[in-house]
Structures are given as C-alpha cells and as structure tokens.
C-alpha cells in the first residue's frame, strides 16, 4: 500500500515537472507571449505625452484670407478645434482621443493618425513625414474635414477627362454638379458610404468604402465585397473551406479617392496603412461643403482618381500593394468609367 502511494506521488511530481517544462517550452518560445508581456507592461505604464506636430498646408498659409470657394485648408494653429473625429475602429478612436488631447494642449489640428492593428501599443509621437502626410485634420471650414494636401502614394492614379463633366451642361458646372456626377457613377457601381473632404484651396476629395476585389480589378460579387473585417465566415461551402484550409490566396482590397481640385498636387512617397485608409470614409463629411459646392468647375480643375490597393495574406496583416493594373482599368472594372463617361 505504502509502496503504491509513494509510486503515485513520485509519478505526480514527475509529471508536474514535465508539465512545467512544457509550459516553459511552449509559451517561452513563442513571440506571442513576449507581445502579451509587452502589451501588459504598456498598459500598466502611464501613457507618455504625445506631441502632435502637423505640417501646415502649403497652399493655405495661416495668413491667407478665407476664400469664397472653400477657405483655408487649416485653421490657425492656436485655435482649439471641435473634437469630432470618429474613426471606425476602436484603435483609431483610442488614438484619436490621445491626439485630440495633445491638440487641445498645443496644436490646432486634430489628427487621425495611422491606426495600427494592436490598439494596446503605445502610440508613437507623430512628427512630420509619414504621419503628417496621412493625417486628416478637422481644421477647415467650420471644422469640415480636410484631406492631406499631398495624399499618400496611391497604387494607381487616373486623371478623368474634363469632358465627362462638361459635356452634359451648357452652363459652367459647379463642383456640386461634379460631385453629383461622381456620386451617380458610384451608385451605379454599387458603392455606398462615401464621404467628403475639403482638399487644398476650394477643392474636394471623395473617399469610397473599402471593397474586396479580384485580381483583375473587378469587385468581388456578393456581400463579401464589403467584408474586409468580417466576422466568422460560416457561409462557405465545404470546397471553399478546404481551399481556405490548405491554399493561401491573398485577398485584395481597394479604396478609391476622387480628388477634384484646380491646383496641381503631388503624392507623398509614404504608404498608407489599410486601417488609416478605412478611417477615411468614416471620418469625412456626409455632404459637400456649401461653399465648395457653389464653386465653378473650370478648365483648370482636374478630377483625379487615386486607387489604393491593399493585400492581405494568410499569415500577415494587410499591407499596401502597388497595383499591377492601371488606374483606368480599376475604374473600368468597377463600372465607374462607363458611368462617368455617360
């Protein structure tokens, strides 16, 4: 009896030791455990002050008078701006709050910084370069959202011919007319949830919702088109399930930003993150600003489509992808080109 008890106890101790070793081996080797430790440490630490420095809009200096067509792209830096930023994702919201805090303490612009996937990571100070190029500010007319003067590098670009907007009216068209035309084309292409921004001096930008596309640039058919951050997918067939289990096919996602402006602009060399681009549609206005809408669409104006393509593979978070298609192909495949040309 005693012998058996001793054997049982020894067995338990041995297995407990094996279990502890397994724990150490299994958890210790994986970077996830390190990430978790760092995340918990970051949560425990008080968040450091985050200086927010915004590059002033080159086309709209603070001293410039407000124009009839749209006014200055940014407000005076000392003015406190309304805190209206509301990005879709929690991470963006969290970071927006911290950005708003810093804006109220010093800067005049409220920035929507790039939203990283891990919301718990401590936000880095955003100074110049990448962050300022991609940030959106609410410093326009009456807090109207402003698109970056130098938009982030697009995967593909297409300047839409002016004739598309000038041919169906005898009167000089207004920017509202152009906006309506783009909106009608977007409706025809099945797009919804678009949003407006002021762009430079008197122009506007219109951002579309993130959509999933095929490799040829055509939108994915069905509800999957709009499910970039979808919940669990229980609707797939068994064949699709097996394909997903064994074959790694990257998914492609696209956002189109139409920029209508009389001023020439160049793109920033920095790449935009998908989360940041996704926030464009949520952070913009639901309608064109009345002052911008009244402005005439002149021969100097250009409507430029900036196409942002993101690639999401099976093992890595989504990343900006250079497009293998021309901007026009994107617009043709999404049925926007034909709708605009009508």
């Amino acid at each position: 009896m005693l012998r058996n008890t001793v054997r049982i106890l020894l067995g338990f101790f041995g297995l407990a030791l094996v279990s502890i070793l397994l724990w150490a081996f299994v958890l210790g080797d994986f970077p996830a455990s390190e990430d978790m430790k760092q995340a918990s440490m970051a949560r425990a630490l008080p968040s450091p002050p985050k200086p927010t420095v915004s590059a002033p809009a080159p086309s709209a200096p603070a001293s410039a008078p407000q124009s009839k067509n749209g006014g200055s792209a940014t407000a005076a830096p000392t003015k406190r701006q309304p805190k209206k930023a509301s990005p879709v994702r929690k991470a963006a919201k969290k970071q927006t709050q911290s950005a708003a805090k810093s804006a109220s303490s010093g800067g005049g612009l409220i920035q929507i910084p790039s939203a990283s996937k891990s919301a718990d990571k401590v936000a880095k100070p955003q100074i110049g370069g990448l962050q300022s190029a991609m940030s959106l500010s609410l410093g326009g007319n009456d807090g109207y959202p402003v698109f970056p003067d130098n938009p982030p590098k697009a995967s593909a670009t297409e300047v839409i011919p002016n004739a598309f907007f000038l041919k169906d009216t005898d009167l000089p068209p207004t920017l509202q007319h152009v906006s309506n035309k783009i909106h009608a084309a977007l409706d025809e292409g099945g797009y919804f949830d678009t949003s407006f921004y002021q762009f430079r001096n008197g122009g506007f930008a219109l951002a579309t919702k993130l959509e999933k596309i095929n490799e040829d640039g055509s939108p994915v058919v069905g509800a999957e088109r709009w499910t970039a951050v979808a919940g669990p997918r229980f609707d797939m067939t068994f064949t699709e399930y097996l394909k997903n289990l064994f074959i790694s096919e990257p998914g492609y996602y696209r956002i189109i930003v139409f920029i209508v402006s009389a001023e020439a602009f160049n793109q920033s060399p920095d790449e935009v993150e998908q989360e940041t681009a996704e926030a464009w549609v949520a952070a913009g206005a639901n309608a064109l600003h009345k002052d911008i809408a009244k402005a005439e669409y002149t021969d100097d104006h250009r409507c430029t489509a900036l196409v942002y393509v993101f690639e999401k593979s099976k093992t890595a978070p989504s990343k900006f992808a250079g497009s293998w298609l021309q901007g026009r192909t994107h617009l043709e495949k999404s049925k926007l080109w034909s709708a605009l040309s009508q």
Binding site: N4, R7, I8, L10, G11, F12, G14, L15, A16, V18, S19, L22, W23, F25, V26, L27, D29, F30, P31, A32, S33, V229, A230, G231, P232, R233, F234, M236, Y241, N244, L245, F246, I247, S248, S313, K314, T315, A316, P317
Partner: protein, 150 residues
C-alpha cells in the same frame, strides 16, 4: 458490475487515440506545408504542434515498448483513472486539432490563432499529463483486485 480492464489493453487504447489524432494533425500540417499555406512560416506552425503532442505521445509509446520488453505479469487498470485519462486525452487532442480546422472560419491569422491557443492548451496539457501519469502508475495485480480480465 463492469469488468475491470487490463492495463495493457487500456494503454493500447490510449496510444491508439493519441496516434490517430496526432497522425491526423500531422498529416494536415504536412499538407499545409507542401501547399505553403503558411507562406514560408511553416516552422512556426510545426513549432506549435510538436510540443503540444510529441512529449505525451513519446511517453505513451515508451511505456508500451517498455512493457512489451519487460514481460511482466498482466495487471489491471484503475477504471476511474482510465476513463479520466482517455477522455481528457480525447478532449485535449480535439482542441489541438480544432485550432487548425477552425481557422478558415475565423478572421484570425493561422499563426495568431496558434499563439492564442497556447493560453488554453497549456493548462489542458498539464491536466492530461497528470491524468495519464496517475493512470500508468496506478495498477494492481488481478488477484488482489479481484478483477475479471477482459
């Protein structure tokens, strides 16, 4: 009264369960490695699988091989410990397998899900190891237990 099972047959059943599930997971991972499902990061997937299954499987196989060589007299198993050990093993192995099989239905990346699964697989593995250890240690002579060999 249910007959008390023989130790050797219980060990073989437990080994069969571990080999079946372990083999299944092994084959799925092998196929995924061939298809490059993990895009060059297959070593991370294997690094998750091997410590989850191999230590216990090695222990079970070692015991069976040792028993076959030692030529000891047949002993009976503790029924309760046997039931606990085999059902905990099945539950644990199903959990390991489901980590791979459920991934296409979720929005999590495969390696991300594997890392997260260590949170629940770690304690489960400890329980399974403890149950198996207790089962292997607790054995009695048939005459003492008054058992009816199966």
């Amino acid at each position: 009264m249910k007959p008390v099972p023989l130790m050797s047959s219980c060990k073989k059943r437990i080994a069969a369960v571990w080999l079946a599930f372990g083999g299944g997971i092994f084959l799925v991972l092998l196929a995924q490695s061939f298809f490059d499902t993990y895009e060059g990061q297959a070593n991370d997937a294997w690094g998750w699988f091997l410590p989850s299954v191999m230590p216990t499987l090695s222990l079970i196989i070692s015991v069976i091989v040792f028993d076959s060589r030692s030529g000891q007299t047949e002993k009976t198993a503790d029924r309760f410990m046997y039931v606990v050990a085999i059902w905990l093993s099945v539950f644990y192995l199903l959990t390991v397998f489901s980590t791979i099989l459920v991934q296409p239905l979720t929005t999590l990346l495969p390696l991300e899900l594997m890392r997260q699964s260590n949170l629940w697989l770690g304690p489960l593995q400890g329980l399974v190891a403890a149950a198996l250890g207790a089962f292997f240690v607790k054995q009695e002579d048939p005459d003492q237990a008054g058992a009816i060999p199966r």
